[in-house]
Amino acid sequence: MAIYSTNEFKSGLKIMLDNDPCAIIENEFVKPGKGQAFNRVKIRNLKTGRVIERTFKSGESLEGADVVDVEMQYLYNDGEFRHFMVPDTFEQYQCEEKLVGDASKWLKDQDNCTVTLWNDAPLSVTPINFVELAIVETDPGVRGDTSGGGGKPAKLETGAVVRVPLFVQQGEVIKVDTRTGEYISRVKE
């Protein structure tokens, strides 16, 4: 794997730090006029999601991390693993539930998502930004209420619970923003 020096630490670069794959978020060059130059770097640990700040002596280097984002189709859950497939190659990957994390509540069979691979093994799963899911459970709505104020919880087919306007009914399909978990609109069948 390539070696990257502090001046190559651009936002988005994937590197190895303390044996974990990490992504550079921000890199600030700090140098007292007559002193040692440092780089203060904000780094996200791609395994834990935690963001840390670390200072390096300018010119220090880190090994790159073999981390790639791959578009995949979610196939099924066998109880232990979630299974994904690369549509072009039919190559399949299995992923432990704990790595899927929060993404699991947005994953519907056959839907696309992004699987981040580290050394060709799944590291994390990111759902697409907008998903369309059916409501399996919600209180009967109040007809004619289109104000959207207030709202009520609705359970979706994947298990996620989102707040929806009062007029939205059980059985309807809605569009949700997976980044915020917010209801966007009803989807006309």
């Binding site: 060059f29 007559k34 002193g35 200072t55």
Partner: protein
């Protein structure tokens, strides 16, 4: 759209730069300080172990020579002082290889001036007067502040910068969640001071005020002379506004032997740390041997000063074409 041809600063900021230069010239002309120009290309260069330079090939057929782009006009200006120029100033470009970031561009603009007969305190007075002359209309500043390095270091960190204690310094770094400081700084007093000062002290300096820090530890004296009363400190000053380092000044070292010794020491450090080899400026040593008048001098980064005056977050906002568009 490809916008790389365009300047990164606004046309307003170009105008402000022109006004700033004009005001600086007014300020020094009223004080009878002579404007000078010295070469950007020289046969020698600063030996500062923390600075990297650019070199270029000079072809004077049939000979070839390596010339250095100057990291500061200091040596040439001191030769003028020794030759009897009296107080002088210069607005010029300086070049430092590898320095690029929110506050750095490898090619930048300096205002450097020397006052014959001034000590460090008189120089600090003049820096305050200059900033008070330049800032109205752009920046409203509180009264200038002056602290010793030791005072400000102790007040903010509780550590004594003049006495190295690995135990205390590393305990401070660990308590502040920066264990990486230990392998970075090791047992080097100067490195610890750079680390702690730039991370924990500098960001607090000069909130809406000009803040001058003087009495730097002797291990950070660079080209300043050591204080006549306390050999643990040097007569060096650094200038900050809103946490941004603007300049660095000295009560200048006039002792040729001491200068020669520091050159050799710095060249040895450069060799040890595999930095590019530099050439000792024999002309500067000769000038000091001839006699540099007692003087104090300082350099202010004008791009950074423009950043402060305009409240810019990055140096690109005040440069026409930073290095990636140059």
């Amino acid at each position: 759209m490809h916008k790389e041809w365009q300047p990164t600063c606004t046309i307003d900021n170009l105008r402000l730069r022109a006004q700033l230069f004009q005001s600086i010239r007014c300020f020094f002309s009223a004080r009878d300080v002579l404007e000078v120009e010295t070469p950007l290309l020289g046969h020698a260069c600063g030996t500062d172990p923390q600075l990297d330079f650019f070199t270029t090939d000079y072809i004077a057929h049939p000979q070839r020579d390596t010339l250095f782009l100057q990291t500061s006009p200091e040596f040439a200006m001191k030769r003028l002082l020794a030759a009897g120029s009296g107080s002088i100033y210069q607005i010029c470009k300086a070049f430092r290889n590898g320095e690029s970031g929110r506050f750095h561009n490898p090619e930048f603009t300096l205002l450097e001036w020397y006052r014959v007969g001034f000590n460090l305190s008189e120089l600090m007075d003049e820096v305050s007067e200059l900033i008070q002359f330049l800032s109205p209309g752009y920046l409203s500043l509180n009264a200038p502040q002056r602290f010793t390095y030791q005072d400000v270091f102790q007040r903010i960190t509780g550590l004594d910068p003049l006495t190295f204690s690995y135990a205390d310094y590393s305990a401070f770094a660990l308590a502040n969640g920066q264990p990486e400081a230990l392998p970075i700084c090791g047992y080097e007093h100067g490195l610890w001071l750079d680390f702690i000062f730039s991370h924990y002290i500098q960001p607090h300096l000069g909130q809406s005020a000009l803040c001058m820090i003087y009495g730097y530890p002797a291990c950070q004296s660079s080209l300043a002379r050591l204080n006549s009363l306390n050999p643990l400190i040097s007569d060096r000053v650094e200038v900050f506004i809103n946490g941004i380092e603007l300049g660095n000044g000295y009560y200048e070292l006039t002792d040729a032997n001491e200068q020669n010794r520091r050159f050799d020491e710095e060249i040895a450090i450069r060799l040890e740390s595999n930095r590019p080899v530099t050439v000792k400026d024999k002309n500067l040593i000769a000038a000091l041997e001839y006699g540099l008048p007692e003087c104090a001098g300082i350099a202010i980064g004008l791009d950074r000063l423009l950043m402060v005056l305009t409240g810019s977050l990055t140096i690109n906002d005040v440069l026409s074409f930073p290095v990636h568009r140059a």
